[in-house]
């Protein structure tokens, strides 16, 4: 599963989300991703709940196709 597919899933599942997915370690490492998601859907949610939204969006892909994600979440300015 490549970075674009990961971003596409997140943007499809989370309302008005902008997802930026990069491989923090090495370019062809397609199992560990740094994922940054900006969406108004995070507004008023705790850090854990914000992260939970992304984990739910990725569903079974997480741990099966994607080994791990380093997640940062925020609401648009």
């Amino acid at each position: 599963m490549n970075a674009d597919e990961v971003a596409a899933i997140i943007e499809r599942e989370i309302p008005d989300a902008t997802a930026t997915v990069t491989t923090p370690r090495d370019p062809d490492d397609d199992r560990h991703y740094a994922v940054d998601v900006v969406s108004p859907a995070f507004d008023g949610k705790s850090l854990v709940d914000q992260h939970q939204l992304v984990h739910d969006a990725l569903g079974d892909h997480l741990t099966r196709d994607i080994h791990a994600i380093e997640l940062t979440t925020s609401t648009p300015e």
Binding site: H51, A68, E70
Partner: protein
């Protein structure tokens, strides 16, 4: 003498499930990680251990590699996710290494770990 190997002894599914329940309920700070405190086997687990270690020296660690699937399955009942590592404080899910890092950045980690 059992040969020194990194292949941890495998636990049964029931033992792993019981371990999750018991460790979460009986410890203030619990960290389910890949590897042990002495030999973390994954960068995220090592990062989580380091962040918690700045504030607590009594964290109960569990090496999920002894029954990875069983641990993921049972942990998801408590946290809603299967990724490792997972941190619990007073029985409540706190997060993985990324959340611990965000809390550290915002200066809220000590408070979250109830120092």
């Amino acid at each position: 003498m059992k040969a020194m190997s990194f292949e941890p002894e495998q636990l049964s599914r029931e033992e792993a499930h019981e371990n999750v329940k018991e460790t979460i309920e009986n410890n203030e700070v619990a960290l389910f990680m890949k590897g042990t405190e002495m030999l973390p086997q994954c960068g995220y687990s090592r990062k989580a251990l380091g962040l918690i270690g700045q504030h607590r020296d009594d964290v109960a660690t569990v090496n999920v590699l002894t029954a990875t699937e069983a641990y993921r399955e049972k942990l998801s009942e408590y946290s809603g996710r299967e990724t490792i590592p997972q941190t619990f404080v007073d029985g409540e899910f706190v997060g993985g290494s990324d959340i611990l890092e965000r809390l550290d950045d915002s200066g809220d980690l000590a408070e979250t770990l109830e120092v």
